[in-house]
Symmetry: C2
Subunit: 440 residues, 2 copies
Amino acid sequence: MEFLTGIREKEVLDSVTQSMDGEIVKVNGAVHTIRHMGDVAFIILRRRDGLLQCVYEAGITDFDLKQLREAACVEVEGVVRCEERAPWGIELRLKKVHILSEPSEPMPLAISKWKLNTSLEAKLNMRSISLRNIRERAKFRIQEGIVRGFRDFLYEQGFTEIHTPKIGARGAEGGSNLFRLDYFHHPAVLAQSPQFYKQMMVGVFDRVFETGPVFRAEKHNTKRHLNEYTSLDFEMGYIDSFEDIMAMETGFLQYTMRLLASEYGRELKLLDISLPHVERIPTVRFDRAKELAAEKYGHKIRNPYDLEPEEEVLIGRFFQEEYESDFVFVTHYPSKKRPFYAMDDPADPKFTLSFDLLYKGMEITTGGQRIHEYPMLLKKLAARGMTEDGMEQYLNTFKHGMPPHGGLGIGLERLTMKLVGEENVRETTLFPRDLGRLEP
Amino acid sequence: MEFLTGIREKEVLDSVTQSMDGEIVKVNGAVHTIRHMGDVAFIILRRRDGLLQCVYEAGITDFDLKQLREAACVEVEGVVRCEERAPWGIELRLKKVHILSEPSEPMPLAISKWKLNTSLEAKLNMRSISLRNIRERAKFRIQEGIVRGFRDFLYEQGFTEIHTPKIGARGAEGGSNLFRLDYFHHPAVLAQSPQFYKQMMVGVFDRVFETGPVFRAEKHNTKRHLNEYTSLDFEMGYIDSFEDIMAMETGFLQYTMRLLASEYGRELKLLDISLPHVERIPTVRFDRAKELAAEKYGHKIRNPYDLEPEEEVLIGRFFQEEYESDFVFVTHYPSKKRPFYAMDDPADPKFTLSFDLLYKGMEITTGGQRIHEYPMLLKKLAARGMTEDGMEQYLNTFKHGMPPHGGLGIGLERLTMKLVGEENVRETTLFPRDLGRLEP
């Protein structure tokens, strides 16, 4: 009988470091580009940890270079040499080259260029090719770091991870932006948010989080909207005030910036990213924020109950200029702009105990305290003329005791976009879904 | 200007330990149950880290006990005492009790019982209440540990986490089990699996994984099927053989059992779980596995190209009895039972370089090597009479070079079910979706 006993020790190395100077090693990778220099050629391998410069020398490397094409996958053997001019200070003097697989057609994009000179549209149409550019793919490594930081920080803070259904009988926010489907002859919708479920689970685990897809059938065609995106959601019980939620988010950002600095240094360098300062994040009331932007930049307040995107930009600019902060919490959003479950401010019920987090002038988080008492929930539903239909399970949870609680949702693609300095959220979405795009 | 500077130091403690013996502390929690004993009462608080026994003493505790109802949320102050007979060896002698919120109605389930004597149907109908039973909720803490182990192990092994769309133009596996929806007047489907996307991303990151929902419109009504479940998927390039994938899965299981033992000890104890041995997992060919079950248990082989659920049970039993292993890799599934992208065995193309992992007689993983060469993919598509429609982006990826690769998908709820010893996959699904259930 044969047995599997765990990951296999391989002759082929996972990574090559400067400490291996002089050693003969085997590595694999994709031929990113070949630069011919007479009897010598540089074969740049693309590997998951970065580019590796390999030196082909006629007469020394036991291989016919004419056999090798860009985009082939190879296994090579060579001597490690420290070489300042090579990427990450290492090159490999090749002894042998073994072709693992070959492309069938030439590359449609010059992926080995530092910057892909390609339209966003073309990049998205050929996503699996354009992401082979190492700066394009680095954005998604940064994105990984953000999600990883979110989860690891929350595990540390006693949160439990949950997985809630994406198909349901009704949406958490109601309204028109629901994708509808037929579920074995029952009408069903795709989840706009895990809101109801995460609140229901606060009564079980006290603190919960989820990282998963949400679906919005919004007919927006802007640089900041997607119809499917990844939401980083948490919900926490036993809060003293909604500031506990903002404090937790600040803690997440601090943790994540440290994680990115320590584990994603190569990607930060490739993309030339300076991580933002998150030691202290200013907080300002919604109405005051509007005034500040109006006063300083002469912006006319058109709608006192809403923040227009241009106002968000101005508020972001204000706090950058006055407090050197890329981030600002805007608090106390008007009640009429928040869902029924938002906790109104007892001091002035026209406003809620809620917030948005703006990053470089764009909303990346919406959060706040929720109503936790059953009678208050019923009252608010009634005041809005809403029925309890389809919300029985959600409401029952509150009948049977719930702690004061609140939470937030962070748009992963937007946070990534702002962090890596992109202007269109599609740049930081692996396979975007928008009004016109359902493929690839 | 006010600032948020990170998580707040609180007077209320996150956890109480035996080392605090004699200290006065503040904690919060939900009143799980109250046991009256004359002038003394035990108030058991349910907190995220477990139950905490609090002792109410008339004349000492500054509170009127009649005010307190089960399911209220409270903040209490008291003296920590080591007490062997209390849960986790600690109790709190109460000085003060402060009510944070109160229930509106009595509990519909006796959640404080050791075992909920309630039908599965009732438990699912009142999910946010039934999960307040500490053994019910413990299953989902174990589930968290599994997902966490999966991700942490794969990060360590150089995998990149990806987020792929759940709405698409067509399914990866094709066929009839697709949920269909209208996407801005275009026909769309929900993803059955991230298969195409994760393969496309192997050409970018070499190794990728995703943990997310998948959707199957199967009309099965069994204890092992769900119409939406969480799939743990990975895909890895530069494999020498499909055994590398099984070796990686074995490594994941080893890592995860260690993680559960070290971080989820309370839950393992609550559920009385002995973790399975995963030091070595036997592997057997599909055809041989069928023979072994037939020989030992007198099972008649009806269909040589498929494993029936009863055969999986017998094969599981065989390897438990003969090799003391709860797990067994069954390899070389027949080609006609695998999707077009599966790599046929060059030694006998009627079979594939693929596997299922059985755990206690049930399939919890399907995986294998994939075709990585464009001409071979085209040939296989043609041989199956399939068109390239809607697969252009997937196929283009292979035109431009792909390493030998393979991967797998693990059903999270099934793995959890088998680990915690349940018989119905709904027991280990937070909010199951099946033929008859779309709520809560």
